[in-house]
């Protein structure tokens, strides 16, 4: 926490010194670039933290600016009315962005360029409307003739207000990184699939990020109206949107300060060079190109690396863990049943009227030759693939039409075949995210203490001397060897105390000792919680050691169920394996 306060105090002090050292005029100049910078911080937040690139964020900047101008004209400088109205406009912009993102990301749209292009089209529409409705916006010539905020002189009193906004936004963005919300965002970028299996809805997470990005842009825009005394369609146009992205990229989109630095540095350099150097635009474009090619983290990345080299980064102190609140996943009840489930992909029938009743407690191992539909069955249960016919029920509840992220609240957790962990996050952060899963509610995302939650399953795993996790908690999960990754994913899967655990080839790539450990951990969890566990496995030793019951799948159907010895005796099973397949 100390460094956040230091950085922001230094930022505030440095910015407030500008008028004192450089005069009101310089402060006025810097003020504009700071406002652009705040809007670019919004872009950087969505892009660097949320992982999706908005190409039309001037939409919110412009709406904020036009809105504030209209309010200022109507209310004639009553400070609190003005401020309340500006806050309201920012909230409305945030709500608009939230709605847009929710609609777009809920569909088939990933974080790819589709979203960027929609925001681009939106800003083109907005600019066209602003340009061609003079009665409303003043048209091309702009909206003017309103007093500045609370009568503050753009060359005097307004500057501290801008600095206050800059510091407030920077502080908020820095704080969010240290809060559960920031961790969830980082998880989103690192491994969306795992986040979803941990019960977080990616489209909602992205919508919140975009709402924040838009709200920040609108706040900057509303002060821009006071700073300029005129709002023209450029404030809501494509070119400004594009520049916001350039500033965020060059300054560094991963850091709250990066976009601010980019906007002030490029804006100020452009304004200084524009009139004397014919090449200035080429220069800015070349710098942008070089950053994209060679320095994707922007200038702030260089600065961070420099600081790290100087050894100035501080180690974070570890606060003592807190007991985590009860998990919603632990409360779920009812055995899982698949009834005549059919699923085809790419014209190939993978599940063919598959019926399978899982026990409410105990361990079921699912075996079958490659291509029998074992993993697809798990994909059908966790709604990763759409079921085309049949029913999947959990007790009395039908799981049809539910999304992957809703499964955890029904008590279902899953470990993937290829372990999916948050590779860019440390082990500790992986476990923190898993501790939030199924337990976090509403405003917990903005409180620091949930990051200290420790769940009973993870506590047990960390206390187990054989489990190779406790030693390297501050290492990046992406650098773990395959076997250790399996244990990390197991810890994350068990952390929310699910009633139904699905383990897809949990021992792949493991040594015999590790395999034995995995067997013991799965058994322990089952006995401690009375949960149901489904294991897909090829390794018959493991099946033998683990299974209370075995189901054999073949060509998308259940071929046999029973104990391992029983299914081994089954002539149908023997026929399938006769070809030599295990």
């Amino acid at each position: 926490m100390g460094s956040i306060v230091t950085v922001n105090l230094a930022l505030a002090a440095g910015l407030l010194l500008v008028p004192w050292l450089g005069g009101d005029f310089l402060a006025w100049q810097i003020g504009l670039f700071l406002l652009y910078g705040v809007a670019a911080q919004g872009v950087g937040f969505a892009w660097g933290r949320g992982g999706f690139l908005p190409l039309g964020n001037a939409l919110f900047f412009g709406l904020g600016a036009y809105g504030a101008a209209a309010v200022l004209k109507a209310t004639e400088g009553a400070l609190w009315v003005n401020l309340a109205a500006m806050a309201l406009i920012a909230l409305l912009c945030a709500a608009l962005a939230f709605g847009i993102a929710l609609l777009l990301f809920r569909g088939r749209m990933g974080s790819g360029p589709g979203f960027s292009l929609v925001t681009l089209a939106l800003v083109l529409i907005a600019a066209q409307i602003a340009e061609t409705t003079p009665a409303l916006t003043g048209g091309f010539n702009g909206f003017s003739g309103y007093p500045p905020l609370a009568g503050l002189d753009p060359f005097g009193g307004l500057y501290p207000v801008i600095v206050a906004l800059v510091v407030a936004v920077t502080l908020s963005l820095t704080l969010i990184e240290r809060l559960p919300a920031g961790l969830i965002l980082r998880g989103l970028v690192a491994q969306e699939e795992r986040l979803e299996l941990l019960g977080f809805a990616p489209h909602r997470v992205k919508a919140w990020a975009f709402a924040g990005s838009a709200g920040i842009g609108a706040l900057a825009g509303s002060l821009y109206a006071s700073h300029q005394g005129i709002v023209t369609p450029q404030a809501i146009g494509f070119m400004l949107s594009a520049e916001l992205v350039i500033w965020a990229a060059v300054g560094g989109r991963f850091s709250p300060l990066g976009p601010l630095l980019g906007a002030v540095a490029i804006g100020w350099a452009s304004s200084a060079l524009r009139d004397t150097v014919a090449w200035w635009e080429v220069g800015v474009a070349a710098v942008f190109l070089l950053v994209v090619l060679l320095q994707p983290g922007g200038a702030m990345d260089l600065i961070h690396r420099g600081i790290a080299r100087l050894g100035l980064t501080r180690r974070r102190r570890d606060a003592p863990p807190l007991p985590a609140p009860p998990s919603r996943a632990a409360a779920a009840r009812g055995p899982l049943r698949l009834c005549d489930v059919g699923l085809s992909a790419g014209g190939i029938r993978i599940l063919d009227r598959l019926s399978l009743a899982l026990p409410e407690a105990g361990i079921l191992c699912v075996i079958g030759p490659n291509g029998a539909g074992k993993t697809t069955m798990l994909n059908a249960v966790t709604a990763r693939l759409p079921v085309q016919s049949g029913q999947i029920t959990l007790g009395a509840v039908s799981l049809g039409g539910k999304a992957t992220w809703q499964m955890l609240d029904h008590g279902i957790a899953r470990k993937m075949q290829i372990p999916t962990v948050f590779g860019a996050l440390t082990l500790r952060e992986n476990l923190q995210l898993a501790a939030l899963a199924g337990r976090m509610r509403g405003l917990d995302a903005l409180r620091p203490s949930p990051l200290r939650w420790q769940t009973p399953p993870v506590a047990r795993l960390l206390a187990d001397p054989e489990v190779p996790l406790a030693a390297g908690l501050d290492k990046d999960a992406g650098h773990l060897p395959q076997g250790h990754r399996q244990f990390l994913e197991l810890a994350m899967t068990l952390s929310p105390e699910p009633r139904l655990v699905m383990l897809d080839e949990p021992a792949a790539g493991m040594s015999p000792a590790e395999t034995q450990l995995m067997v013991r951990l799965a058994r322990d969890y089952q006995q401690q919680t009375g949960a149901a566990i489904v294991v897909i496995e090829h390794d018959m030793h493991l099946v033998d050691a683990l299974a209370d019951e075995v189901a054999v799948l073949h060509q998308g159907r259940t071929l046999a169920t029973g104990s391992l010895a029983e299914v081994r005796r089954d002539p149908l099973v023997a026929a399938v394996y006769a070809g030599g397949h295990k």
Binding site: G229, Q234, A235
Partner: protein, 376 residues
């Protein structure tokens, strides 16, 4: 051009020591859509400064020009204006740019410095301390439409422009003038800036039976429209009148597509007068192969500087209040001819030129045309 850039850059850097000069800020578009007027505007400014200094400068002091690029969004343009004003000690401004930038600049200056706006525009600028030499719709149309009715026999007008303030205000003025001249408006439409497809509009023009089209499209849109217009043979049906088609735009349109294309402005490179010929010759002599094609938009900076110098010399200083006190009736001359300040606009000569040959040939001229703008 490069030499000029360098010399102004050096002048800018050395500015701190050369106190015995009057500094004027010259606002021209070097970038953006109007960037093509940048070179001719800078050259016009250089010639004007030479002429002002040769005639004794402003109040006896030599004039020094400081340029700023205002072909950028208003927020960035006013940064430059403020810098020239607050850091470089500029005492007055002359600018040729779009109306959004003008509105932003008048909002910043608030009448504290004299400011001359020189671009063709929609009219109506009445801010304190702001003087306008640019042609207004009333000036470009009031004498021209009746003349075309009489000499070309046109009466059915179709109005087409880009969808923003200037074309809409121009057409509002045109409506009245056409009605007063006995003509009718058979169609009026606006296309978004950056449009490239005019087929639907051309179909409407054809079926409207128009015999004249008033074109208030700008830049590339105007070029595209006029090319398609001729491709469809509409030049046979209706003549065109443009109020912002200068030499560059005409070059883009091409001689093959310019049949019966008229333009109405305060300046054309082909004006048949000693002042205009002298101006063209000096451009060549001063800038050699770098000389930009002279045109009404670029040349307007010359007029602006001449007006500012005349105002200052009349007032004895560039103090805004002193200038305002003597402004009305101030006269100056330029390659366009003589002009007199009437209110804060000028009454000036308007030329009607025919571009059919690919170069504008002045058909007729109208002297002392009033701006039609009266400020309260």
């Amino acid at each position: 051009m490069k030499r000029l850039l360098i010399s102004t850059a050096i002048a800018g850097l050395m500015g701190g020591t050369a106190l015995a000069e009057v500094r004027i800020g010259v606002l021209v578009p070097d970038s953006g859509p109007a960037g093509l007027f940048g070179p001719s505007a800078r050259q016009a400014a250089a010639l004007a400064a030479e002429d002002i200094n040769a005639a004794g400068g402003i109040n006896g002091e030599p004039v020094e020009l400081i340029f700023a690029d205002v072909g950028v969004p208003p927020a960035q343009a006013v940064q430059a204006v403020q810098r020239l004003w607050r850091s470089d000690g500029v005492q007055g401004f002359v600018g040729m740019h779009d109306s959004a930038v003008r509105a932003a600049i008048t909002g910043q200056l608030r009448g504290q410095l004299p400011y001359v706006y020189t671009a063709v525009y929609e009219g109506g600028e009445c801010a304190t301390g702001t003087y306008v030499t640019g042609e207004t719709p009333a000036q470009q149309l009031a004498p021209v439409i009746p003349w075309l009715a009489e000499n070309e026999g046109v009466s059915r007008w179709y109005l087409i422009g880009n969808d923003y303030n200037w074309p809409r205000d121009t057409n509002a003025a045109a409506q009245e003038i056409i009605a007063a001249s006995g003509g009718t408006v058979v169609g009026e439409e606006y296309v978004p800036l950056g449009a490239s497809d005019f087929d639907a509009s051309l179909g409407r023009i054809r079926s409207s039976g128009a015999d004249a089209v008033l074109v208030t499209l700008v830049g590339g849109d105007s070029v595209g429209f006029n090319i398609a217009y001729s491709a469809f043979g509409l030049d046979q049906q209706a003549l065109r009148l443009g109020t912002l088609i200068e030499e560059n735009t005409l070059a883009g349109i091409g001689s093959a597509n310019a049949n019966r294309l008229f333009a109405s402005m305060g300046y054309f490179a082909g004006i048949d007068s000693d002042a205009a010929r002298d101006y063209a010759a000096r451009l060549g002599a001063t800038f050699g192969s770098d000389a930009a094609q002279p045109n009404g938009m670029g040349e307007s900076i010359y007029d602006g500087l001449m007006l500012l110098a005349a105002l200052s010399n009349a007032a004895g200083s560039l103090d805004a209040a002193a200038v305002a006190a003597v402004a009305d009736g101030t006269a100056f001359s330029s390659p366009r001819g003589e002009a007199v300040l009437d209110g804060n606009h000028v009454a000036q000569t308007i030329f009607l030129a025919d571009g059919s040959s690919g170069a504008f040939e002045v058909v007729t001229r109208f002297d002392s045309v009033p701006s039609g703008v009266t400020c309260p």
